[in-house]
């Protein structure tokens, strides 16, 4: 996926002279995850800029650059290190279009490597999507495959709205062969990754692969599991979501961010509202615990696992099972 993102940035820099890349270590080093590898050498240090170490400064100056006619793509080095930029993102990036009655567009892309599963230590593994998705004026998207990563990066750069592009770190090194093209579905469209009849797993980013694995394993249990990859967390593609759950009648939302106040609650509510008469069971969630991200030795217990997903699927009242579920953290093993 890192390669696909790199190719998207290179192609955008090549095709649009207004595009600039800014961030900490994005130039000579190519970024700590090498997503900007080789770009400074190819496009020069005026277009691929090693900034001083200051996240608010990076986003704040990107806002001014966009006002001045550029299309900045900024990198926050890690999820939790984007927090110093929060005021610029929420008070200005998200609001300037509205504040100026549409006169000032800010086509800025804020790239945030996010999530765990890489053995990282604290502050390097946060899932911060809910903060951004809660902010009107931002588009929040997260690819799960290299093909989506390329397309969504290109579309985010072309988008007249500010886009927070959350890059699931644990997918950076995934190597599926993919044809890279900017064409395809719109930036805010979800996709059915795997069709199934019995239950819908709704997920995004780093946990899409886990959900697909769970769906494969579920065949043995006799469940035909559908997997929906939301891809866009704001806005949410209700049409795809609703069509899927109306077909299957059961839904589990899976994400690794803490459950309370998380995206899963938003998704579950949308499903309940739109699919109530099709539902055979309450919508359940499998999420990370409501704890600061745990140390590497314990992260596998925190992250949604295939087993935890299957256990939760098992509790979807297949036999009118009456007992309440210990949502939102997924079911305990029976």
């Amino acid at each position: 996926m890192a390669g696909a993102l790199n190719a998207a940035l290179a192609d955008a820099l090549e095709q649009d002279p207004r595009v600039v890349v800014l961030g900490e270590d994005v130039g000579t080093l190519g970024g700590v995850f090498r997503v900007t590898d080789g770009l400074a050498a190819r496009f020069g240090d005026r277009r691929v800029v090693d900034t001083p170490l200051a996240e608010s400064g990076i986003v704040g100056t990107a806002i001014g650059m966009a006002m001045g006619g550029l299309v900045p793509v900024v990198e926050m080095q890690f999820d939790a290190f984007a927090y110093p930029a929060f005021e610029q993102v929420t008070s200005h990036l998200a609001k300037l279009r509205n504040r100026t009655r549409g006169a000032v567009a800010l086509p800025v892309v804020v790239r945030v490597p996010y999530g765990g599963g890489i053995g990282g230590v604290e502050h390097h593994c946060d899932s911060s999507e809910a903060y951004y998705a809660h902010t009107p004026g931002l588009r929040v998207v997260t690819p799960a495959t290299p093909a989506d990563a390329y397309r969504m990066m290109r579309q985010a750069i072309a988008c007249p709205d500010p886009v927070v592009l959350l890059e699931p770190k644990r997918r950076y090194w995934s190597k599926e062969a993919a044809e890279l093209t900017a064409d395809g579905p719109a930036l805010d469209e979800a996709v059915v990754r795997r069709p199934g009849r019995d239950v819908t797993l709704v997920t995004y980013g780093g946990t899409v692969a886990t959900a697909l694995e769970a769906a494969d394993a579920a065949v043995e249990e006799g469940w035909d599991v559908e997997v929906v990859d939301l891809r866009s967390l704001s806005p949410i593609d209700d049409a795809t979501l609703t069509a899927s759950v109306r077909r299957t009648g059961r839904a589990v939302v899976v994400h690794e961010a803490p459950g309370s106040g998380g995206l899963g609650a938003e998704v579950a509510q949308r499903i309940t509202e739109r699919c109530f008469h099709h539902l055979e069971a309450p919508v359940l969630r499998v999420t990370g615990f409501d704890i600061p991200y745990p140390p590497p030795k314990l992260e596998q217990h925190h992250l949604p696992s295939v087993d935890r997903i299957l256990d939760t699927v098992a509790r979807l009242q297949w036999d009118d099972q009456p007992e309440p579920c210990p949502a939102p953290y997924g079911a305990r093993r029976a």
């Binding site: 001083p52 200051a54 650059m65 006002m67 300037l96 009655r101 209700d238």
Partner: protein
């Protein structure tokens, strides 16, 4: 993209000296009684001095009108810049048409001086939801409320101009309190490292709401902070319009000429309370206000211009009349409340409203239709 420092060679002390504000104390051209002072600064041309004075007279009338309308409930809130007119008008008049101004909530007079229609400047304060003017029309950013955040926008816009090979300078206004915010630090640093064509004008009016400068900083002056960033710094008498204009014009020309950014601290005073909602009596001595009234920027400029024969009663009368006309226009325009269109609340959140926003808009419209008229 190398830092453009005046003295890259030489010792640390020599380099630091190149960035220090020149002289000992604020630079001035005209003393409080209106007499010219010896100064290495170049006295602005007669036309410029008259333009500054005219803008101050008109600007002050605008300011008193806005304060009055606030007392009458026509404006929700108004942060007055009375006493700071020299900074306000010099900031606007030092800029060329292609340059950008990045103002705060306190800088309405600067924006009016830049040419934005006064009624548009007051739009937000009247209770509308947008900034009132198109920033691209006059190259004035929306008035910024979150302190110091506009400093970074100015640096970004200025740097973008350089990257695009355009001759465009950004001037950002901020208060003494805002210099304590992290964004000011980041902006000064980015500007210096990038050599961005940006001018920072700190209007040091002594207070951040109630907090005096002594509780804000231990620096010898706010201008001295520029040294730490490797940025030229100036300390100027902020009630001397001629001096503020001279310093800013030089800073703008330097920025445009590739010399990079300048930090300017102007010493001035906020005569009114922080806003109409504030009670300045709780934190400052009336004697202090009195002392500053004696240094009033408008009467100082008037005395100076009269002593030089540049201003007579007739011209003074004309400037006053222009102020009255502007005030009358503002009063007339604000006679009626704004009627924000609720539909528009959903229109500019994104380039195209999302499906959810359209649903929410329709819900609100249906509710409004049901409401008894």
């Amino acid at each position: 993209m190398t830092p453009s420092s005046p003295a890259l060679d030489g010792s640390v002390q020599e380099r630091a000296a190149a960035f220090l504000p020149p002289g000992d104390g604020p630079q001035a051209l005209v003393d409080p009684t209106g007499s010219p002072l010896p100064s290495p600064l170049a006295m602005p041309a007669d036309d410029d001095l008259l333009a500054l004075h005219r803008a101050m007279v008109v600007g002050r009338r605008f300011d008193t009108q806005a304060s009055a309308l606030t007392r009458q409930g026509r404006l929700a809130v108004y942060p007055s810049s009375r006493g700071q007119e020299a900074c306000q008008v010099a900031a606007a008049l030092a800029l060329r048409p292609q340059d950008w101004l990045f103002p705060t909530y306190r800088d309405s007079v600067a924006i009016v001086t830049r040419g934005v229609p006064p009624v548009e400047v007051l739009t937000l304060l009247r209770g509308d939801w947008h900034c009132g003017y198109d920033p691209y029309e006059h190259r004035v950013a929306p008035q910024c409320t979150p302190l110091a955040t506009n400093t970074l926008h100015a640096v970004g816009l200025a740097h973008a101009a350089r990257l695009q090979g355009e001759d465009r300078v950004a001037l950002v206004l901020l208060g003494d309190g805002a210099t304590s915010e992290g964004d000011t630090h980041e902006a000064l640093n980015f500007a210096a490292v990038w050599g961005a064509p940006v001018v920072f004008l700190v209007q040091n009016n002594g207070y951040a709401i109630s907090v005096p400068l002594a509780k804000q900083t231990a620096a010898p002056s706010l201008a001295h902070k520029g040294v730490g960033y490797g940025m030229r710094s100036r300390l100027v008498d902020g009630n001397d319009a001629a001096a503020v204009h001279a310093v800013l014009t030089e800073a703008v020309a330097g920025a445009a000429g590739g010399d990079g950014p300048t930090l300017v601290e102007a010493l001035t005073y906020r005569v009114e309370a922080h806003t109409n909602a504030d009670d300045a009596g709780r934190y400052r001595d009336p004697a202090e206000v009195e002392a500053w009234l004696a240094k009033d920027p408008v009467s100082r400029s008037e005395a100076h211009l009269r002593s030089r024969g540049l201003l007579d009663d007739a011209l003074a009368e004309r400037f006053a009349r222009e102020g009255e006309e502007l005030a009358a226009g503002v009063r007339a325009a604000l006679e009626h409340d704004v009627a924000p269109d609720p539909r528009e609340l959903f229109e500019h959140v994104y380039a195209q409203p999302t499906a959810a926003l359209l649903e929410q808009r329709d819900l609100l419209l249906a509710e409004l239709e049901e409401e008894p008229a």
